[in-house]
Amino acid sequence: MTATNDDPSVLLVEDEPDVRQSLREVITEEGYRVSDVADGRQALEYLRTHEPPAVVLLDLMMPVMDGYEVLRAMKQDGALARIPVVVISAAAQATLEDVVTTGGASLCLRKPISLDALFGALKRFC
């Protein structure tokens, strides 16, 4: 399956190269368009210069700018505030739930992420 311009797009924000690559691969194979960046600052740059993606997959612990800062910046930016954000992190479950209830994320997936959980989340927001 090859994604076309009409397919929903996903922005993947993840610093760990192996994690980023494997996520990009399976998401692409599932028929989504994926753009990926390695830290929070690149994510905001991308969001401010591209068509809004259907969903942002956002890691929390990243160099330069972490996921918390990205979420805050998105919520304060009218153009970005409504883009759904799915947090992907290996942090403790309680931390992840907190990001959803108070940080403004739409959903959290705790690493390791299964294909079913990943595709379930993408279906919901795309």
């Binding site: 760990e16 192996d18 691969e25 612990m61 918390y68 290996a90 403790a92 992420i113």
Partner: protein, 556 residues
Amino acid sequence: MPEVDWSGILDVLGDGVVAADRTGTVVYANTAVERLLGWPGGGLKGQPLVVLMPERLQPLHEAGFQRYLATGVARLIGRAVRVPALRRDGTEIDIELTLSSQRDELFVACLRDLRDRVELERQLAVTRYMAAATGAAARLSERLELDHVLDVATSTLARDLDAALARVWLVDPATNTLELRASAGLSTGVEASARQRLDIATYPLALGVVARTLRPVVRNGLAGDPEFDQAWLEREGLRAAAVYPLLSGGALRGVLAGFFRHELPQEVIEVLGTFAVLVASSVENARLYVQAQAAILARDEFLSMASHELRTPLTPLLLNVQSLARLAASADVVPAEKVRAKTASAARAVSHLERLVARMLDVSHLQEQRLVLTPEPLDLVELLGQVVERYDPEAKSLGCRLQVTAPPALVGRWDRLRLDQVISNLLSNALKYGRGKPIEVTLRPAEGGAALTLRDQGIGIAPDDQAKIFTRFMRVAGETKYGGFGLGLWITKELVQAMGGVVTVESAPGLGSTFTVLLPAGAYAPLEPVESGEPMESGESGEPGEPEHGSAGGAA
């Protein structure tokens, strides 16, 4: 009715009776007073009364006597007072004295021996001190916090053990100083909150002596003693001091000091010694408690970080395996390229996990000092090349250029895996904190060993943080930005030290960091740089048939 023989009656009295005339001359003394003051056989009769009192009290007596004769105003008559009396042999004893006068012509003194009572009082004081020490033991063990222990120690010493001033200093091993931590009793102008510090090596007074010799200094009669501040003693009227080292397993943890306005009987000194031992063990318990709390906190943080680190590589592993399973379920023929890519990615995740687990094991081995090094003939240049090659993909993905400068070969005997780990830790740190800017890696022979330098142009390290980065579980950069156990540099330092080397850092925030590892030929074999990569003959210290590129002569 028979006639009363007053003299016979007075002679069977237990208390002494002595009478003097208006000139102060003794006209009568009973047997008891002769015995009590050492004037047997009527020797006291005809003596001036002042022979029965210490010289220092004689003017006082004279003045009172003359005043009474002149004015008839009595201060002491009819009232029992406790005073010292002088015996003929020059010693003093405590007596209770009651005076009366007959028609202003005869003055009668009744003397009661107080020695038994003084002894009883002394015993009571010792009993009270022991009870105080026992009570303190109970209070000391109520709570484990150091401040509580120090407070109980000083307040007990001042309030219950009658010290005018009680203080505790604790040792700061980093600076080899005593730091004033608690004080009770008189105000000296140096309060405990000021945390006054004394240099153990040089402080001349008793505190310094006790801290250096690890033996108590207990003195009665401090006048002229060079180990005490004489001006201060005089100002405060202090007459005795008891200064004890607080020891644990022979190691000095602090000093307990009590200063007294009275002299200390031997029994009291013994109680004070026991009390000091009690305080020492409580201080040590408090110290261990703080350590245990810190260790628990560090462990919890480590477990949380370990969970995060171990879960991260599980993601590509799980995704690749599930993805392969899906492909296999949906198609009869799965493209070989896809299988290769996904299994390779899964394998990378597994080896990433393996490295994490190995690192966690290293931590426990290093902690228990069970690390065993296995040196082997090794070309450092070749090893460096392998590590750099392994990190090349990561460097490329970060847009970071790795510049390596090294001689053709640099051969010695080292533990290959550990040295690999040292270089890997430093290189992965440089990439992690290097902001994608070029990293210079330089290897050169130095001081009979080797010097490895990694210079990045990354976020750098604040001066205050530069010592902390080599401690366990420490990441001075933001926790939500940089993952990791916070163990890499600690492991690096421990490994390099185990090899007899040192690792140092030079850095400034925003300007990057330079880490330098100096490895001696030291522990294993002399190390000589060789000018070519040609293999050399393996020396006698090499394993037979083992090395492809042998040690530098093996002349250990």
